[in-house]
Amino acid sequence: MMKNCEYQQIDPRALAVSPSSAQNHTEKKARRPRRKWEAFPGKNRFFCNGRIILARQSGVLPLTLGLIVVTCGLFFAFDCPFLVDHLTVFIPVIGGVLFVFVVISLLRTSFTDPGILPRATPDEAADIEKQIDTSGSSTYRPPPRTKEILINQQVVKLKYCFTCKMFRPPRTSHCSLCDNCVERFDHHCPWVGNCVGKRNYRFFYSFIISLSFLTSFIFGCVITHITLLIIEMLSFLDSSSCTVVELVICFFSIWSILGLSGFHTYLVASNLTTNEDIKGSWSSKRGSDDSGNPYSYNSIITNCCVTLCGPMPPSLIDRRGFLPPNEAVPAASVSEIELPPFVAKNDAHMCTQSTKDVLERVVHSSDFHGLCPPSTPKTTPLGPEIFSIAAPSTEPSPSAGCTRQHAHQSAATTCPLFTKSSKRDSLHSINPAFRLASPSPSLSRVTLILGDAPDIGFIPLP
């Protein structure tokens, strides 16, 4: 049955090293092997040689940490001595435990990979392109890039991500601030300076719950302190100015933090993400338990256990792995340029064959000619962009966190400035027109291979 190939067994382990490494081996020895985080295409920052990951815009994380540390510092310095004398020694102990828990949860949320999906390799992307083109429906419009699947007898639409070049798995969303697809995307939290997704949602939840307890605890202690002071008729203004500061901070944070905790408790109990709740993906027309959510286990306890105590998924991006030698080429992978550096790397290594196929199809397809005015055949390299314009635009995921807050009237203070910049960023990184606006040398190399295409020049887009 097995075809008698004159093919000798190849050692798969040896195949893991690329053929060119044999020649470049001595050169590579001199060059330090680079780790994968150094060539990571998303907008993230890495510390401790890839062990710690943060969003590029750390947002308000220093402020969050500062507020927590300062408030607790004032509490331990000014309230605790008084309360230990008048009440019990356990007050600073409880406060200390809560404080440690809050800080650790916060740091875990901020520094953990939220569940970033690595971008599709060029071969995968080409394979998906092939499947989209051959799936029929060649009308005068390019096919919409969505795929419908059945999950637990419910129809779910999977969208195609143009940045990561793959169909997003269910519950995955692309964060334009971090320029990554994140699994079970909840929201991008500026307070924490990172996205909240599958891998760090439990840390985020424990952070806000413990912060609620800490804030309530400090608030209670401060009220007690002031009350006792008034009762004992001690000088109110001298020693309690710091107490008043704490009172003010706690009073304002308590409403927002408690509201946020309540909201996320509801989300955990119904196995929803903030993103889905905002968009009303599974808005129930029937009873609350049997909502249209196909991921819910229809039991509050099971949902809580699954979300918070489920198995810890591994990081998919392998930050500390070493790059294979033939990918250690990219020039601008870690710099601060606005254009996604992944495009430069991608072009350099894209299978020339598959690129040529894709571009040829675009040139010869009737869709293309029908859609574009006659002068545009010159803009062949902009072919892929047509699909993105026709496809429905991606959702504003980073503003989800803020609009949620507005919608539920929790804290209203944080968001307006943030939303503006996030919209600008989302336009900038999602629109492939920006990527193609500056001629990348490798793309022009590829176009030269298309012998039959006319003078192809780049038309810089506005």
Binding site: K3, M312, D318
Partner: protein
């Protein structure tokens, strides 16, 4: 360079003819499962039963990793109580199963796929999105 018939030469001559991608199967939700449908490109290379058996075993292994049993709950609660610092010293259940999967993939490659000129890539290297099967050209090597 002197002509050698070493493994490196064979590698250089082993050109990649095609790559087949087995996509994820989401009918049961977001758990990691792969489609067991046999791709047509592999028809000439490998037995359908064999291939489906491999994919089914992989699916079972991933299901075991993501199983919601008492062990995972205990691990989760313990982690929560220690403010998740326990993960810095202990390997999670998922990671242990991933190691098992890596060993399984390598074993399958050694025994079944390499003799047929195929190579399975561990899905974790592709972000658990696809199982990549590399098909090498069926070229006779001259000696």
């Amino acid at each position: 360079m002197a002509e050698t018939h070493s493994l490196q030469d064979m590698r250089q001559q082993a050109a990649v003819a095609a790559k087949v991608f087995i996509q994820r199967d989401y009918t049961n939700g977001t758990v990691c499962q792969f489609q067991t449908k046999f791709p047509s490109d592999l028809e000439t290379r490998i037995d359908k039963q064999q291939f489906e058996e491999t994919v089914r075993t992989l699916n079972n292994l991933y299901a075991e990793a993501e199983k919601l049993g008492s062990q995972s709950y205990i691990e989760g609660c313990l982690a929560c109580l220690t403010a998740y610092t326990v993960f810095l010293c202990m390997e999670t259940h998922y990671e242990k199963v991933l190691k098992k999967i890596a060993k399984f993939v390598q074993e399958q490659n050694d025994k079944i796929y390499a003799p047929r000129g195929l190579l399975l890539t561990d899905p974790i290297e592709r972000g658990l999105r696809v199982i990549e099967v590399t098909i090498f050209e069926d070229r006779s090597l001259t000696r």
